[in-house]
């Protein structure tokens, strides 16, 4: 599903920043993986590279079997449209559109008709428990509901891999737990999810925990059972 081999990332400048110093990581279908680390550890860089939003300085990144090294920007865009779903800390919902249209926009760049997109968007919203908020605009929704819309948007294209960047960073504790429970449910029904977080109780929800520090993988724990 995802395979990183000796990935490094340097940012120019003086002195240059070594955000990643050689990371090898594989995520398999059906896994719920947490990437944990303090700020500045390189986990955001890691997410950008896994999400093909940024290219590594060296090393190879394979997403859903595709080697991304020689892909053009257009090919990477197509790869994101088909194989990846993103959930962001800031939600990034369009304030001028209702929940259905926000979710349907995830299929915009796949050439589906508006009717197909909306139909699938409604299904996705129902699967995250927002069937009763279809035509609400983001400013009419609570923080937790907004993040649910964003999660519906990430899964509506049935991506090979869902990437969640601090998905609970803007939410209170109770709502955070609900969102993590939702990600757990989605994972249980087959979704492969990578969660990036600096919160240990979020990571505790995930069966696999990868700790990153100073651009290197510090630990990679596979638990038999995640916390309930």
């Amino acid at each position: 599903m995802l395979e990183l081999t000796d990935v490094t990332k340097e940012y120019g400048g003086s002195p240059p920043t070594h955000a990643l110093r050689g990371v090898s990581l594989a995520a398999h279908a059906g896994e719920l993986t947490a990437i944990v680390g303090p700020s500045g550890s390189g986990k955001s860089t890691l997410l950008n590279i896994v999400g093909t939003l940024d290219r590594p300085t060296s090393g190879t990144v394979r997403v859903a079997g595709h080697d991304t090294r020689d892909m053009t920007d257009r090919q990477l865009s197509a790869l994101r449209a088909r194989e990846l779903g993103f959930v962001f800390q800031q939600f990034f919902l369009l304030s001028g559109e209702n929940a259905v249209d926000n979710v349907a926009d995830a299929l915009l760049y796949r050439g589906l008709t508006a009717a197909e997109r909306r139909e699938r968007a409604v299904e996705a919203l129902e699967s995250v428990g927002l069937g009763h908020r279809l035509s609400h605009h983001p400013n009419q929704l609570s923080g937790g509901e907004r993040q649910r819309v964003a999660i519906a948007r990430a899964l509506v294209g049935r991506p090979s891999l869902m990437l969640a960047d601090e998905p609970t960073g803007n939410l209170d504790t109770r709502t955070s737990e609900e969102i993590m429970a939702l990600l757990g449910e989605l994972n249980a029904s087959g979704a492969t999810i990578l969660v990036i977080t600096h919160e240990h109780d979020v990571a505790a929800r995930c069966r696999r925990r990868v700790a990153v520090r100073d651009g290197l993988i510090e630990r990679d724990d596979q638990l038999q059972e995640a916390l309930p």
């Binding site: 595709h66 257009r74 449209a81 304030s95 926009d105």
Partner: protein, 407 residues
């Protein structure tokens, strides 16, 4: 295409391209406008003003020319005026007695009518001091004059075969105003004699000096004021196709002994010159409209640059959802074009309204040239596209990570 479907050693085939349907391009391009309506409206105002002024200028000048042409058509361009200019010898400026029969013999000449100046002044009544002439003159006229000038009566009738023998007067439009004459039957005082007003004329576009005159019959003029029998001014209508030739032979025909004492003019030339002057002003105002349009374009570019900065999060999100650089570029380009075209539509409507109001106030036929409407919209579209190029390029070149981080 086929190569992509084959599996290479590197893994499965490269995924199919990101694709944005043409209909969705419009939808995505209007997201910004729908979300920020007020800003969109304000930023389109500049374009509206530019297009409105261009459409209005073209419409008003076209309507005005249509008005002038209608006047020309109605009055005809085939009227010539031959006047005796005072020669070196001085004395009464009149043409020889032979002028009228000679002119009538010229082939293409269709109609001849004359006036002769009368050495008398006209007053409202016998109590007015002699020197208060109001700048009005008295002329002896033929009954055929009204027809020859395509004139119309505001009140009463023109001189006829009967009334030319009696103290009856027809007053021009300006003369009527200055003498306080507003109804047939009123009397005016012409140097010692009362004249009854039998008619008041409408203004004559082709012979404005008649507007400031009081016309009386030749017989009565000769009898009471010893007026000349010979004509002072000859108005003649000729075949429009030969009008220039006729104009050339008039002086020698009217006064064979001294043709240079005859001045010939074609009154419709003044109207045609007016239409030409209109065109000059149109060009000037079109230039001003183009400047407004340019400023409007700069305004749109400015607003779009700000929008790109503000909407970095949205740009990053769209890139994450699979939008290519091209998709982001076309989105912002379409947004700029939509803004400009909306402004252009409003501008065309405003320009049409302005033209209509002005044309109605001037009693012209309303003419809104389709070329101004089409040209205005095309100009708006072009301005929008040019204004959107730079901001759209900036949006497209924004790296996804930077866009998401800075939002």
């Amino acid at each position: 295409m086929m190569r992509r479907r084959h599996r290479s050693a590197a893994g499965p085939a490269v995924p199919t391209r990101s694709r944005l349907r043409p209909g969705d391009v419009l939808r995505v391009g209007s997201v910004g406008l729908r979300t920020r309506r007020q800003r969109a409206a304000l930023s389109a105002v500049g374009i509206s003003i530019g297009i409105a002024s261009m459409v209005a200028v073209l419409g008003i000048s076209e309507s005005s020319n249509a008005g002038l042409n209608a006047t020309l058509d109605r009055l005809g361009t085939n009227l010539l005026t031959a006047e005796a200019s005072a020669g070196i010898t001085g004395g009464d400026p009149v043409l020889p007695d032979t002028a009228v029969p000679m002119l009538k013999d010229v082939g293409p000449v269709q109609q001849v009518a004359t006036t002769t100046p009368v050495e008398a002044y006209v007053y409202t009544n016998d109590m007015v001091a002699e020197e208060l002439t109001n700048g009005l003159s008295v002329k002896a006229a033929d009954p055929s004059l009204l027809n020859a000038l395509s004139g119309t009566m505001a009140e009463g009738t023109f001189l006829d075969a009967a009334s030319i023998r009696y103290p009856a007067a027809v007053v021009g439009s300006v003369a009527a105003e200055r003498l306080g004459v507003d109804a047939v039957g009123q009397r005016v005082w012409i140097d010692g004699h009362w004249f009854t007003v039998v008619g008041i004329m409408d203004s004559l576009v082709l012979a404005e000096d008649i507007d400031r005159s009081v016309l009386i019959g030749r017989p009565v003029a000769q009898q009471l004021y010893d007026a000349d029998e010979a004509p002072g001014t000859v108005y003649l209508r000729a075949d429009p196709d030969d009008i220039t030739d006729v104009q050339g032979v008039v002086p020698a025909t009217a006064n064979p002994s001294s043709p240079d004492e005859v001045s010939v003019s074609r009154p419709s030339d003044a109207l045609a010159a007016k239409a030409a002057a209109n065109d000059t002003f149109t060009t000037l105002f079109l230039g001003l409209g183009a400047v407004a349009l340019l400023v409007g374009g700069v305004g749109i570019a400015n607003v779009m640059v700000i929008a790109v900065i503000e909407r970095r999060g949205e740009i990053g999100l769209r890139r994450a959802l699979g939008a290519t650089q091209g998709h982001v570029r076309i989105q912002f380009l379409v947004e700029a074009v939509l803004l400009a075209v909306l402004g252009g539509l409003v501008g065309v409507a405003l320009g049409a309204v302005a033209t209509t109001v002005y044309a109605v106030s001037q009693d012209w036929a309303i003419t809104i040239p389709p070329s101004a409407v089409g040209g205005g919209l095309a100009a708006a579209l072009l301005v929008g596209a040019v204004a959107g190029l730079y901001p759209a390029g900036r949006a497209a070149r924004l790296s996804p990570t930077e866009a998401l981080r800075s939002a």
